[in-house]
């Protein structure tokens, strides 16, 4: 900000200095002598130009002309330049013709008109430079904002990938499977298939923007199958899937992440285990997913889950703007997670 201010004053002082130097040289070339009157006149023009243009700028800032688009701005600039031109004409009349040169002979309309037009033109150039500078810097700001948004989006995508492959889950599953190979080879084979599906889908689905809800549920079912193998009778799974919701498009792995959180903070934390319930239904043309798990939700807990929730909210915002909603709360001794997804994305 300070730099911008410095730049403004620098341009003002030197711009007007260059202007009067040109006028001075022009005067000398056309036969005028470098008299003290000429120097005083030039200095007056310097000060008059500087002060009038600065006054014009104060008005621009005060009335916040920067908010206008070019079409609305242009007439205002023209009018402002004309008024500035008239002001300069009269100031010049007073300071140069009357005080310095003492050659005032009344106002000639033609001369007055020419001089005012001349100064209006000078202020037009001044305005052009002033607004051009502002538009360029604003444009750069917009550009930076855009880049930041892109970076945020990339980060969310990356976080999504990171949260997909939960190493605890993978290695615990492998460990269960190792034990099952002796105990129940059939179940062990099934578990390996489920784990392969989960891994494959985690890798593939992440690349898609949206997938049908029943595809997501296939992944969730494989995932829950593995958790059931691991937790055995400690995990009770309840599913109420409305058939009208099957083809609704959802962001991949989002429901899976929520289910995984439900188990991580429910069943796995409770010595006697607990339920995990998934409900899907349509509500006002939107898909409503409600997940219940045992346990207690601590809002301010800093954990990977907190990170998972933040990521879910960010993804929803990116895809659906404010049309999707996500809520997690304690209800009747359970944790209730509500996810509402609209039909249309904003991208």
């Amino acid at each position: 900000m300070l730099n911008k201010k410095k730049l403004y004053w620098f341009s003002q002082f030197f711009g007007w200095l260059i202007y009067i130097i040109f006028i001075g040289i022009f005067n000398i070339l056309t036969g005028n002598k470098l008299s003290s009157e000429l120097i005083y006149s030039l200095l007056s023009i310097y000060l008059i130009g500087l002060l009038t243009s600065h006054g014009f700028r104060l008005i621009i800032v005060k009335l916040n002309w920067m908010r206008f688009n070019i079409l609305r701005l242009f007439p205002r600039i023209l009018l402002g330049n004309l008024v500035s031109g008239i002001i300069v004409y009269f100031l010049k009349l007073v300071f140069i013709e009357i005080i310095i040169l003492q050659s005032f002979e009344g106002i000639k309309f033609i001369d007055a008109f020419a001089d005012i037009m001349n100064w209006t033109f000078i202020f037009l150039i001044w305005s052009l430079l002033y607004f051009l500078f502002h538009f360029i810097t604003n444009y750069q700001k917009e550009e930076i904002k855009n880049l930041k948004w892109q970076a945020a989006k990339n980060e969310i995508e990356l976080n999504k990938l990171k949260s997909q492959l939960n190493p605890h889950f993978i290695f615990n599953s492998m460990n269960s499977i190792r034990a099952l190979i002796n105990e129940n080879p059939t179940l062990a084979k099934e578990a390996i298939t489920q784990l392969s599906n989960v891994l494959r889908n985690s890798l593939l689905m992440g690349k898609q923007k949206l997938i049908p809800f029943n595809e997501e549920m296939k992944l969730v079912n494989d995932y829950l199958g593995l958790e059931k193998t691991r937790f055995e009778e400690r995990l009770t799974i309840i599913k109420n899937i409305n058939s009208t919701t099957e083809n609704f498009l959802v962001p991949p792995l989002m429901i899976q992440t929520l289910v995984e959180n439900g188990i991580k903070h429910g069943t796995s934390k409770l010595p006697n285990g607990g339920i995990l319930e998934i409900n899907s239904s349509m509500s006002n043309d939107k898909l409503m997913i409600v997940i219940y798990n045992c346990g207690v939700y601590h809002k301010n807990e800093k954990s990977e889950t907190g990170f998972g929730i933040v990521n879910t909210v960010q993804r929803l915002k990116l895809l659906f703007g404010n049309k999707a909603s996500f809520e997690i709360k304690n209800e009747n001794g359970k944790v209730k997670t509500i996810l509402i997804i609209p039909k249309e994305t904003i991208l």
Binding site: H168, N172, P271
Partner: protein
């Protein structure tokens, strides 16, 4: 070697039991599926080693260790290289990653053998070769009692001195005194228990008391009553 397996997942316990079949010298004396069961079993059965899963429902593995009266050798078992393990001094622990590799299990068991922890029987009290588990905020240690010159009472807590650390453990000094071998760990006064192996110098003090200088530089006054006890013990 008596061992207890602590893991909330039945299949994980089965898996470890299967792997331990190859080690006839390891006798599994109990399996526990929760923190509470684990604390009771370890204090009652006094195993030489526990295989401890860090993620347990309710209390985690560290919570279990903090509540133990008796600290066996601990081999942590976890599914993933855990942030929780970073709390430890690397040399102070051994841990196994699930699924457990048989070679790593062998190494861990050999480490326990080499650790020369004092075998523990019911009558015996905690001696120089036994461990205490100490947790101070985010940091954890298994400290050999031989390395502890001094215990200091602080209300319901006891401050454990070792190396340059002085963390607190949630135990009363009286409780601790009952469990420590009184031939080595001497109750100097109401506030302190000192490790006699760390004594550098003993001087006479007022009222028939003694002033003990420890090798770590601390000076502890021994009350008159305790001074006569010490003189009797060491026949000074």
């Amino acid at each position: 070697m008596k061992a207890i397996i602590i893991d909330d997942e039945r299949l994980a316990r089965e898996e470890l039991k299967n792997l331990l079949l190859d080690f006839p010298n390891v006798e599994i004396i109990a399996e526990c599926d929760s923190a509470e069961a684990a604390i009771a079993a370890v204090d009652n059965l006094k195993p030489d080693v526990v295989f401890l899963d860090i993620h347990l429902p309710g209390k985690d593995g560290f919570g279990v260790l903090e509540e133990l009266d008796y600290t066996p050798h601990v081999i942590f078992v976890t599914a993933y290289d855990d942030y929780a393990l970073k709390a430890f001094d690397v040399n102070a622990l051994d841990y196994l990653l699930k699924p457990i590799q048989p070679e790593r299990l062998k190494e861990a068991i050999n480490k326990v053998k080499d650790a020369e922890l004092e075998p523990f029987s019911d009558s015996q009290k905690l001696g120089l070769l036994n461990l205490v588990f100490v947790k101070d905020g985010e940091k954890c240690w298994f400290v050999k009692l031989a390395d502890v010159p001094l215990f200091e009472s602080e209300g319901n807590y006891v401050r454990v001195y070792f190396d340059n650390n002085k963390p607190l453990i949630l135990k009363s000094l009286n409780n601790l005194a009952n469990r420590l071998d009184e031939n080595v760990f001497f109750r100097a006064n109401r506030k302190f228990i000192i490790n006699l192996n760390w004594v550098e110098k003993i001087e006479s003090w007022f009222n028939g008391g003694l002033m003990v200088k420890l090798k770590n530089g601390e000076q502890i006054e021994i009350s008159r009553r305790q001074a006569s006890k010490l003189k009797e013990m060491k026949s000074l």
